[in-house]
Every structure is written in structure tokens, then in C-alpha cells.
Symmetry: C2
Subunit: 515 residues, 2 copies
């Protein structure tokens, strides 16, 4: 979500930690970082860049493993601090901590493997265009990276999260903008990150943190920053893109922005597994208070009795769903606004509402329904919180309904054996609109792995890169070719002789000998 100002009128320069349970400050965490201080931090990052790159992949891998160990050692303090600031259940925070530690170790593996460097050697020789020079290329770090923490993943997409560890793995210093929803956790986890960097001898300035909206803006505008990682709202992303447009040298912005994650239930799936799908769907759109980027926000269910049963079962489950305390007051307010607006939409009905918190802190889950004939676009925008809309489709209405979908991080099809034609057709329609295609599953839950993609066409992201999985490291790298450069001046990975990493030599991909 977009950074918001959490300072109060009386203490304009202090960053307060606001409880999502009460909406009240639990105390000041840090001073808002002054612009001069942002400048010093960004300069320190730039000064650290060459030495940090020169540490080599082995030392950087050690940093990431040390970070994972330290996070696990501080598990209890991290979880309790995160819970107090985000209201995310402790069990999920425990899982998120596991994932965050795993992710740090995973990027250590990725850089140890070395294929990500795309090391390539073309020896000098004759070519159809005449004699060719010696050309050797690999990816190099871009330089200091700005990372904006996300409200909804205070660990895995925040200070010690995927953007940070992939940028460090690539060899770049990182300056983090602490999210206003969890400044205390940001401070705690930054201390851990800083300790890991110090322990492996990273130069001073390798990691930095800034607090406050103005500091975030100054960071993105700073000449030393070479790229920005952001997971948040479309409007927050747009504000940072506007700052980048004003820079003398535009820099890449890797934004994960807004996604509605369509899920299509085939007629056969509705008939065979309607009850099971209803349970899976409600679990997926209400987990973590419906505040996951991959929440299924629009669900296509056939008209007719099987679809009716699925919807009725989902409605029963929603009615049994406890209220959720959302991440912060702004998100809770926007959820209330969406509920009020959608209740007034013609042709959209509220099928079910869950338990509302009697004291008004928690919000109720809501299930909406409309028909494929009635959709007009307003149903197809993301709402953070435990709500989704079911779109009932009749024979031959699905194609046109799916055509209006914007880009998403994920798209899901539920179908049964014998419906391969249906599934293939729907996947063909959805593939241009999503970065991950699921069958008979639910899109929440993003495994960190080699094959993972967390990205997709606009507005889910504004890039062709993924922000989760091994290839997320590519965001912080750019290619360089060395032409006829003497061996001693080449990076170690490009010198003659056997290498411990995969390389393409004169056109042939060579993997390191095993054993």
C-alpha cells in the first residue's frame, strides 16, 4: 500500500507506531528522516557499492544466510512486534518469518549457482561479417537500490524481504523506506539486517533505512539511486513514478501494484466439487483479512443449480467467518467505503456478510454476486479486505466476460477431467492477462522457488520482471560486455579456464562438471 503520513500535528518530525487495533499511537519510533540525512544515506550507499560488489558472491551469500539465522533467532520478538503493529495473526507471521528466512537463503543459493550472471564468452575469430573481437559478457549490479516496504507483508516484502535480499544478492547496496504501518518492526528488522551486513564485513553504507513520506520521495529522487522496488497500491506507485519522471536520469521502477486474480469455475467443477471449491475460495479470499496481493477478487461461476449450490455454500462459510482487524485505519476506511459503494451498485447483490466486530475494530467478510451480463468494470478493481465478487455466467457468456479483465498476478481455472477443451480455451484467454496460471488451486500462497513468477501485465505490475523467485534478482542487474579486455582486467567469472558456474562459450551452454 502507499506510504501514508503517520505523524501527528504535535510531533510532526516523529514517526509514531499506530496500533491497528485501537488506531492510537503506541509511541514514537524514530524521527522522520530529514532530506539532508537521506542524501547522506544515499551517498554512503553509492560509496559502498564498488566494495560491496567486490566482496564477491561467496561473502554476499554469507550475509544472506547470516540474516536468515538472525531472523530465526529473534523469532519471538519479531512476531510480537509485527502482530502489535499489523494485527496479522501470529501463526501467519510465523509462516512469513519462515518464508523470509528461506528466501534469504534461497538467494544465497541462486548467486552460488551463478547461472543468473548469464556469463558468456565469444572468442575472437572469423565471422560472416569479418574478423570478430573477443567478447565476454555478464550481468553486473546496477548500484544502490531503494526498497519500499509493504504493509501486508511486514517481513517477506519489507525490510528483510525479497526486494532487499535479491538486491543485496545481486551486489547492490539497499536503502529501505520503512512502511508507516510498521515502523517499530522495520527498526527491529533493520537492526538485524545491519548486524548481518557488519558481521560479514560489508562496507558501511551497504544497508540504510529512512522513515517518513518525504524521505521516501527524496530517496527516489536521489541521483545515487539506480532502481526502485515497490509493492503497494497503484496510486502509491504512480506517485513514485511521477518523481522518477522528474529525475535527470530516469531509473527503473519495479512496482507490484494492483491485481484482482480471476478464478473461473467450470460447469463440471461446480457440479463435482461445488462445496469443496466454496470452502477453498472463502479460505483464500478471507485469509490475512483479504489483504494479499493474490486474493481471488473476481470469481466466475456458472448459472444453474450447481453454481447456485456453490454460491450458497460460500455464503454459509462467509457468514461463519470471524471479523478481521485490517492492517491500518486507511485500509479499514477504504474497505468501508467499498462496502458502502458496492451495496448501492445496481445488479450487484450482497450474498453474505460475516461477523462484524461489536466494538467496530474488525471488519466483516462480504460476498458479492452479479451476472456476466451486468459487469461494467467497477467490479474489476482491487479492494483490500475480505471480500470477493462472484460473476455468474451463462452458456457462451464467459468469453466476453473474461475479455474485460485487466492484467493480474494470477489467474485460476477449476475444471474436471473431460473438460480439457474448456480449460485450454480459458487458459488461452487468461494467459495474456496473468503471470501465474493455476489449475484447481487457490492463488494465495506464493512459494519462493526457481520457477515462481509474481508479476503480470498492467496494472498488476509495470514490468516484465517477477518480484518473487530466482529471477527476481534480474531487476537489479544490467549486462556489460568486455571487448578484447586483458584477462587480468576481467571479472573472475569471465576468465579463461574452467568455471564453477554455467557459462555459454562460443555459443554452447556449459554447466560445471559435477563432483
Amino acid at each position: 500500500m502507499a506510504p501514508t503520513t503517520t505523524t501527528t500535528a504535535e510531533t510532526a518530525s516523529m514517526i509514531e507506531s499506530i496500533s491497528p487495533f485501537t488506531g492510537e499511537s503506541t509511541g514514537a519510533v524514530a524521527e522522520a528522516t530529514a532530506t539532508t540525512q537521506v542524501d547522506a544515506i544515499a551517498r554512503a550507499a553509492a560509496a559502498a557499492a564498488p566494495a560491496f560488489d567486490a566482496l564477491g558472491r561467496g561473502r554476499r551469500a554469507a550475509l544472506l544466510r547470516r540474516l536468515a539465522d538472525f531472523l530465526e533467532e529473534s523469532r519471538d520478538e519479531i512476531i510480537s512486534t509485527a502482530h502489535a503493529e499489523t494485527a496479522i495473526p501470529e501463526a501467519r507471521l510465523g509462516g512469513e518469518l519462515n518464508r523470509t528466512a528461506y528466501q534469504a537463503r534461497f538467494f544465497a543459493d541462486v548467486i552460488t549457482d551463478g547461472a543468473y550472471l548469464e556469463a558468456t564468452v565469444d572468442h575472437a575469430g572469423d565471422t560472416p561479417m569479418g574478423p570478430g573481437p573477443d567478447l565476454r559478457s555478464m550481468l553486473v549490479p546496477t548500484g544502490p537500490v531503494a526498497v519500499f516496504g509493504a504493509s501486508n507483508f511486514p517481513l517477506a516484502f519489507s525490510v528483510p524481504g525479497g526486494d532487499t535480499v535479491s538486491a543485496l544478492a545481486a551486489g547492490n547496496p539497499v536503502v529501505i523506506k520503512a512502511h508507516s504501518s510498521h515502523p517499530r518492526l522495520s527498526q527491529l528488522t533493520f537492526g538485524i539486517l545491519n548486524r548481518a551486513a557488519a558481521e560479514i564485513g560489508a562496507p558501511k553504507g551497504t544497508v540504510g533505512i529512512v522513515y517518513g513520506t518525504a524521505a521516501g520521495a527524496a530517496l527516489v529522487a536521489h541521483p545515487a539511486i539506480t532502481a526502485v522496488g515497490f509493492t503497494g497500491s497503484l496510486s502509491g506507485g504512480q506517485a513514485l513514478l511521477d518523481i522518477i519522471a522528474e529525475r535527470e536520469n530516469p531509473i527503473p521502477f519495479f512496482g507490484e501494484l494492483s491485481s484482482i486474480n480471476p478464478l473461473v469455475v467450470s460447469p463440471g467443477a461446480a457440479a463435482s466439487r461445488g462445496t469443496e471449491i466454496a470452502a477453498g475460495l472463502v479460505g483464500s479470499f478471507t485469509t490475512s483479512g483479504g489483504q494479499l496481493c493474490t486474493k481471488p477478487g473476481v470469481v466466475y461461476v456458472p448459472v444453474g443449480a450447481d453454481g447456485d449450490n456453490l454460491v450458497a455454500e460460500a455464503a454459509r462459510q462467509v457468514e461463519d467467518t470471524d471479523s478481521s482487524v485490517l492492517l491500518n485505519q486507511r485500509i479499514a476506511g477504504e474497505y468501508a467505503d467499498y462496502a458502502a459503494a458496492s451495496a448501492s451498485w445496481t445488479d450487484v447483490s450482497v450474498v453474505a456478510e460475516g461477523t462484524a466486530d461489536p466494538d467496530g475494530t474488525g471488519v466483516a467478510a462480504r460476498l458479492l454476486e452479479t451476472s456476466a451480463k451486468s459487469i461494467n468494470g467497477r467490479e474489476l478493481s482491487e479492494c483490500f479486505g475480505p471480500t470477493t465478487i462472484i460473476i455468474r455466467y451463462g452458456d457462451s457468456e464467459l468469453d466476453a466476460a473474461l475479455e474485460t479483465l485487466p492484467g493480474s498476478l494470477t489467474a485460476t481455472v477449476h475444471s474436471e477431467p473431460g473438460e480439457e477443451g474448456f480449460a485450454a480455451h480459458v487458459f488461452d484467454q487468461l494467459r495474456p492477462k496473468a503471470g501465474r496460471l493455476l489449475h484447481n488451486g487457490y492463488p494465495t500462497g506464493v512459494l519462493v522457488s526457481w520457477a515462481q513468477t509474481h508479476g503480470g501485465p498492467w496494472p498488476s505490475t509495470n514490468t516484465q520482471y517477477t518480484s518473487v523467485g530466482a529471477h527476481a534478482i534480474k531487476r537489479w542487474l544490467r549486462p556489460v560486455t568486455w571487448q578484447d579486455v586483458p584477462e587480468a582486467l576481467l571479472p573472475a567469472e569471465l576468465r579463461e579456464g574452467r568455471a564453477a558456474i554455467p557459462r555459454r562459450i562460443d555459443g554452447a551452454l556449459i554447466t560445471p562438471a559435477v563432483g
Copy 2:
């Protein structure tokens, strides 16, 4: 260079071919493409996209090889048409045709090899975060691509050029904006491209062409277009970026924009090879009328007798250099403007001028000189045409002088054995500012190969991608992950069993068995 309007007041809807030798029209080539027609062409490309992708890598490779054959079969007609419209010497056009054909065949090899797909399989199994699903990923085509031809490479960076063949290789339909400097050649080579597409059975709409500035703008704004390839001026690129900013869904813009390509001569190199370097340098900055993106535009030469000798020899060579007919009247006009402006710069002297054409058609080569103490930024912007500026540096002045350099496509160091410390230090300074680092060579001449990089930090490009070499294909691809999708619904490259392409399976990179 930026597209310019070549229509005249009398025939506003016709695209004329203008001779660079006379500045006069040699006749109308085509009607300027109306906006409605651009819409039809872009829609046809979108409609063709799934079937073109489904042709598979083998058929697309056949298309590219056929294109190369057809280009070579029409060699004489292509060269004479190109020469009449661009004034580029026929010998260089012959070399460019060789390169263009080679490039098409090279991308056929790249997609046959298949590593570019980054095919990855993570089987379902236990993970530290619990049971993981089956995840399979690879890169898929983004959809219809708009390609803007360049004035200075009417073949290799135009209709049948690198952007077109890499986008087709990736599986995308391509719509080309013909460059106003060579509409007749664009029409001729588009006919050849279209014939190659038809011969391998590509769906109608796979390739398209539009003429005129308004048509180019409409193309970039069209919802069906998913990415833009552009080689030209900073201002032309900015105009297209402004159009993209107005789109409902922003799309990636891959612009190769402006580069000054610094070349540093060490004290030892000036002493040992001053005469040789002078010859190489003058050859490099005057070849093709100095209208190459990789022209060395700023040259650092030590103060003192060795540097003086180098400059004196370069001056002699420039004086012996024949005049060049530039690509079009706009470029010639801008060259004259630069000459007039630079003649008035304080602390900058015109060291030598070559032969000027008596009838005023050809322009004279010019060698400028200033001192490291005097540079103030105006010397560090690109000028198309046969000119370069030498910056004389004294002891300890080089670091500060190099610090002011903007990003470039290339950076070159000339040094001698025993000067490794100097070379390493200068390369360390230049690496963050360039995409290709050369030693003891000249940056003009960009070999198409696996290890080539033609890209660099802003303003040389606005991306982290290369536009030449194997990785240029990545611009037109994005990752997709399939989660728990049945075998029959997966792309062939991601199914179980042996594959003919490199894949990463459960973390291990597996190359196809040889033989």
C-alpha cells in the same frame, strides 16, 4: 533519429522519398497511413498473435532463415535503393546487409537452442514452508510489438533489423513504423519480410508497416501494442514515452537514445601508439559520416608532447578526410548548427577541418579540443556527424573529468603493458557508465553474437536490456508460471521427460544430451 515529417504542403497525405544528395523528392512512395488503417493493422497483429506463437520455434526459425535468404537474393536492389535514400556508401550497405541476414539467422539459432525460454520445473514436494505445488515457468511472447526504424542503419536497425527479427523470434507479431529517411527501402524490405512470413505460413497480420509521424504516434498509443522498440534520438524517444504515459496501460519502451562513447588514452598508449591511435580514432569517428550510435564522441588524451603528437596526427588525418553526405537534411542542419555553436565556445578550439564539398552537399569532418579543466557539460552531448572532441588531461585531472560523463553504450581505454593499474582504475570508473567496455580498440562496429551488449545507462538507453546480441530477444518476453496445471495443458517445453532445450529441474540446470 526521431521520425520527421517528410510530406509537403501540396501532398500532405503522401510519403515522399527525399534524396539526401539534393534534398529534393524523388517521388511519392506510399500514402501516409491513416489512423483507421493503423487500427486495422494493429488489430490484425493482435488477432495473429496466438496462431503465430503456436507455430512454434521451428517454424519461426524457418521464417527468419527465409528472410535472410531473400535479403541476400535482392542484394543489388536493396543496396542501390538504400544508397539513393541514405547516401551511405554501397560498401558499407553491403556489410550492413550481411549483418542483417546474419542477425536473422542468429536469432533462428537462439530460439532453436531454447535456453532463452528459461524453462524451469519445480516438482511438487515438501519445502521448509510446507508442501509446495508443481511450478513450471518459461518466458512467453508479450504480444504485438511496434518497431521504429532508424535513419542510420536502414537495414540492421530498420524493417528487417534486430528489433524486428528478435521480436518475431520471440513469437510476436511486429508492426513497423517506416523511417521517413528511407520509405522506399522500407517498402522494398517490408515486401521481402512479408513474403518470408507468408512462405512459412505465418497468419495474416504477423507483420505490418505504417508510414508517417501521425501513424507512428497512433501505433504507440494503440491498445493492442505491448512493447515498443526504438533506435533514435533522445527527443524522438521522449515524444514516444509521452504517448505511452497517456495510455491506459503503460507498456515497455526499449529506447536506444543518445551516447557519446568516451575513449581514454593512457600516457603510455599516447607515447607508444599515438600515430596509430590517431588513425584508428579518426577512422572510427568519421566512418559512415560519424552517424553511428557508437561513435567515439569524446576522447581523453594526456597533456604533453605525446598527446600533442597524437592530436597533431589526428588533425592531419581529419584534414585529409573527404566530405560526407549526411543521412538527411535535418541531420545536416543540426551538424551545421553544432559546428557554428562549438566554434564560439570559449576554451574549445577547432583543431582541424576536413574537405568541405564545394557544392555544399557534403559536410566537413571536424576535430575539436579542450582541456579537462574547462569542460562544462556542453561537450558531453551527442552530435551526429563526423566530429569529436579531444579533452586534454593533466596529472590527477582524469578522475574528475570522467566523473561528469553521462551514460553511454560504450567506453574504451587504450593502455600499454605496465599500465594495468591505470586501466583497472579507469575501467572501474567507466563501468557504471557503459554497456560495453573496450580495450585498445574502437567502439564503432557492433558484432552480433551471444556475448554482445548494445545498451547502457541513461541517456544511452532507458532500459536494462540490450538491443543487439542474443539477449535482445528478452525485451519481447515475460515470465509465466503454471501451477499444478495438467500435462496436456502445459507448453511442450515444460512437460515431463527429456527436452531438447536447457531447463532447470528442481534447482539443477540440465543441458540437452549431445549427440
